[in-house]
Symmetry: C2
Subunit: 204 residues, 2 copies
């Protein structure tokens, strides 16, 4: 009996693996179009920006050129910035100098955001950039510092093969509608809340 159970188990296992392979093969067959993608990484969970920077690493492995624009974070001591600035194929802009929620002035913040966007525009108009990461763009949009139509228009008119990754909580619906891929990072359990400080190499 034990032997026959083992045979059954192996057979069920093989069936399950075959079904899984069929599903994957069918999806690959359907997918055949090549174009630059617009990806949104949103939600309250960890991993939005780090996922974007992982794609930067992936792109660099394919000898692609990467542009990064970070809104909000005026700091320049993050591990990712130190690391990627060492790579000639990466252009890195910190655009949020002076606006975080410590800056309580709408006009000033709007002007900072608009100046920042003009730098993003130069990358969205330059086909030399294979991948453009716009980190934490959702905040300037949410707070009304940037005009959504302007942003959508620049994204639409970018070079055909250019990938763009946008990160930040609460991505506006209009932005998600324009995107090819939207992932929500959901915070199931978070170390920060349970009294553990932000950690180098993980959060910073």
């Amino acid at each position: 009996m034990a032997g026959s159970n083992a045979v059954d188990k192996a057979a069920r296992y093989q069936q399950r693996m075959q079904r899984q392979k069929q599903v994957v093969d069918a999806a690959i067959a359907r997918a055949g179009q090549e174009k630059g993608l617009l990806l949104i990484l949103t939600g309250n969970g960890k991993g939005k920006s780090s996922s974007a920077f992982g794609m930067a690493a992936r792109a660099l492995g394919h000898s692609m050129r990467v542009g990064v624009a970070q809104f909000i974070k005026g700091r320049s001591d993050t591990g990712e910035e130190v690391f990627f600035r060492q790579h000639a194929e990466v252009t890195w802009h910190v655009l949020g100098e002076g606006f975080t929620w410590d800056t309580q002035n709408l006009e000033h913040d709007s002007e900072t955001a608009r100046k920042g966007w003009s730098i993003v525009q130069t990358m969205l108009r330059d086909a030399a950039y294979d991948l453009v990461i716009i980190d934490e763009l959702t905040y300037p949009l949410k707070f009304g510092w940037l005009d959504m139509e302007l942003v959508l228009n620049d994204l639409r008119q970018r070079p055909l093969m250019q990938h763009v990754v946008i990160t930040g909580r609460g991505a506006p619906d209009l932005l998600c509608e324009a995107a090819d891929t939207v992932t929500e990072m959901r915070d199931i359990k978070h170390a920060f809340r349970s009294g553990i400080t932000a950690q180098k190499g993980i959060d910073l």
Copy 2:
């Protein structure tokens, strides 16, 4: 009236920003403990592995040493692997050679997984690794190729300051219970389903 509306708007904006700052400050004050974290990146959405590799970049920016172990993926042409193998501070192991769902043999897959885990163990016992990424570990666990108790035990006994990031769909409950941080990547919209092929620098 228009002027007074603008004043109201600015005042409401300032109030909102002040509330947001209070929330952030309080969270920072609560958080004060330093230790190596166990992070799980799970869910069906894009960005689990790329997020782990973004943390690798972040860690390298802090001159930390990174170990990567990839289960399942027997391929060696991914952008992330090409890129990170160029960096001396990174040790990269592909452990899934020969098991994907193309391999329809339970015993063979289990043995491959156990051999792979023994390599992960060497990193989990070596405090020289500041960050260990175990990519797509959930599959060997889900398919019963690896013993959960063995895995949990090795994770528990790792060096105090070592961070571990585990990725993969359907992370088992026992693993999530052991983790400090669990993020679920939810697939809200996916380019692959709408007929666009996997793209270099984004998916590969």
